[in-house]
Amino acid sequence: MQDRGRSVVRWVDRRIGRTNGLLMGAVPILLLVLLYLFFAAERHAINPADKILPLPGAMVDAMRALVLERDPLSGRYLFWADTLASLQRLGLGLAISTASALLVGLVLGLLPPVRATFGMLVTGIAVIPPIALLPILFIAFGLGETAKVALIVIGIAPFMIRDIAAHTAELPREQIVKAQTLGASTWQLMLRVVLPQAMPRLFQAVRLALGPAWVFLISAEAIAADIGLGYRIFLVRRYLAMDVILPYVAWIAILAALTDILLAWSSRRLFGWAHRSAA
């Protein structure tokens, strides 16, 4: 009785090691893959020409043409050209959003007059559904790259700004007062006290913004583009080419996950002070 009582560890108290964590994390993914293969095989048993759930072999064949062979029309390796175009748009959108989140967010959070003047405007912009602005962007900027990048920026910058502003405003008042008693001007306060403490939060905000950023990127590409991951997916949809769509979606997932891991890792490396309490 006592033995059993000791061996039952409550779920909230269980510790999972690194290896076990990886193994356990792999289980649901493998199950999903198996489930897919099972259904795909079942459909192909009935109809060998089924396009809805392609078998892995079909996907490899379809992707080989896109990854390894030049497109006869444009002379490009389509898969890589799509990836490059999408990442460029995404990177530019994220960079502009991050920079503006930092600049506007800090000022908004630290300086009450600025918050009073622009706080409502930022909140107002943040609640507009960005996709509703897409037509305006296409009309204003044409169908080129600018409109797509602008959609990403409009989609994610406002909430990143609000996040940084809120975080800045939450800095203990004592710190601000203390810095002033040490002779710091507003500029010095911003540069040495507020900015460095906002950086880990900024990384966090970028990680959270990655999901919406991809949504806006794919939406913009779906509507008006001639290259890009989103463009390709929506293009081949017309031919029910699931053998291309599924690998593309998986590739997007891998890219997004890698970015997220990279950001988390750099935040821990760069701002050890902010992560130490968790360790």
């Binding site: 007062v177 203390k178 002033q180 008693t181 040490l182 002779g183 710091a184 010095q188 002070w273 130490r276």
Partner: protein, 272 residues
């Protein structure tokens, strides 16, 4: 005629709520003033007004005969109960920060010879508070007592004219607290500081200070608790046993500062 720090008819009001009323105080240079009183009696408000974080709604505050701006500056150093140090800077960087602000208005960073000089000064200060070997630690890696030592070093490296302490030892263990009491007494002597300390701990107020102020409401209206503010109800100058009894009557017999300072005993408590 005017003393080092003087408050003349100072009122602090937040909307309808009167926190402090008619506070008149003269504080001598080199005094160690403890402020005690029940919660909500405006101890921290008084400190904030002297610090410049809040402006008094009425009255004047003068430092050396010059009116004090209601804005924090390096005349007045402060140590709060918590959040007094910057979590993203190491101990040394925390201490350097004040020096860097003064010498590098744009970058707030020093380089080369100026930095070496500032680092030497900061290290001296860290030695004085007993953190000489901890320069590369971050505040999160230190105990509460060490963080308060750092907060003191950070403030004192700027040589403030007044050091304001807002329950600086309130969150510390009793053992650590008595270490800190010794430290603050030593620093008070070594740097000839003028200290104003708000505390909940009456023992601490009497053992550290050479003058104890008690804040409380003089009048109370049970139907309108915010109608009347607190003021100084007791102003107790403390002296050691050694000097003649008459010295106790003077608000601050500061000539005794040079003597041995390890034990301050209460000679007489008189409600003036």
């Amino acid at each position: 005629m005017s003393s080092f720090l003087s408050l003349r008819d100072v009122w602090v009001e937040y909307g309808d709520k009167i926190v402090l009323e008619r506070v008149n105080l003269e504080i001598d240079e080199g005094a160690f003033v403890s402020i005690i009183g029940p919660s909500g009696a405006g101890k921290s408000s008084l400190l904030r007004v002297v610090l410049g974080q809040d402006a008094p709604s009425r009255g004047r505050i003068e430092l050396d005969g010059m009116p004090l701006e209601p804005q924090c500056d390096s005349n007045r150093g402060v140590v709060f109960q918590r959040y007094s140090v910057f979590p993203h800077m190491t101990v040394l960087e925390n201490t350097l920060f004040g020096l860097e602000c003064a010498q590098a208005p744009f970058t707030a960073r020093l380089f080369g010879a100026a930095r070496r000089a500032a680092v030497a000064e900061a290290k001296d200060m860290l030695h004085a508070v007993g953190l000489g070997d901890n320069g590369s630690l971050y505040p999160a890696q230190m105990s509460g007592g060490m963080q308060q030592r750092l907060a003191l070093a950070q403030a004192l490296v700027k040589r403030p004219r007044i050091l304001l302490l807002d329950e600086p030892f309130g969150a510390l263990d009793p053992g650590i607290r008595s270490d800190m009491h010794r430290l603050i007494t030593d620093l008070w002597n070594a740097y000839s500081l003028t200290v104003i300390m708000v505390t909940h701990d009456i023992g601490e107020a009497f053992s550290l200070g050479n003058r104890v102020l008690t804040l409380d409401k003089l009048r109370h209206d049970p139907h309108a608790p915010n109608r009347y503010g607190a003021s100084v109800v007791y102003d107790l100058p403390l002296t050691r046993k050694d000097p003649p009894r008459g010295a106790a009557e003077l608000p601050a017999a500061r000539s005794t500062r040079k003597g041995k300072n390890n034990s301050i005993t209460i000679d007489k408590i008189d409600n003036t």
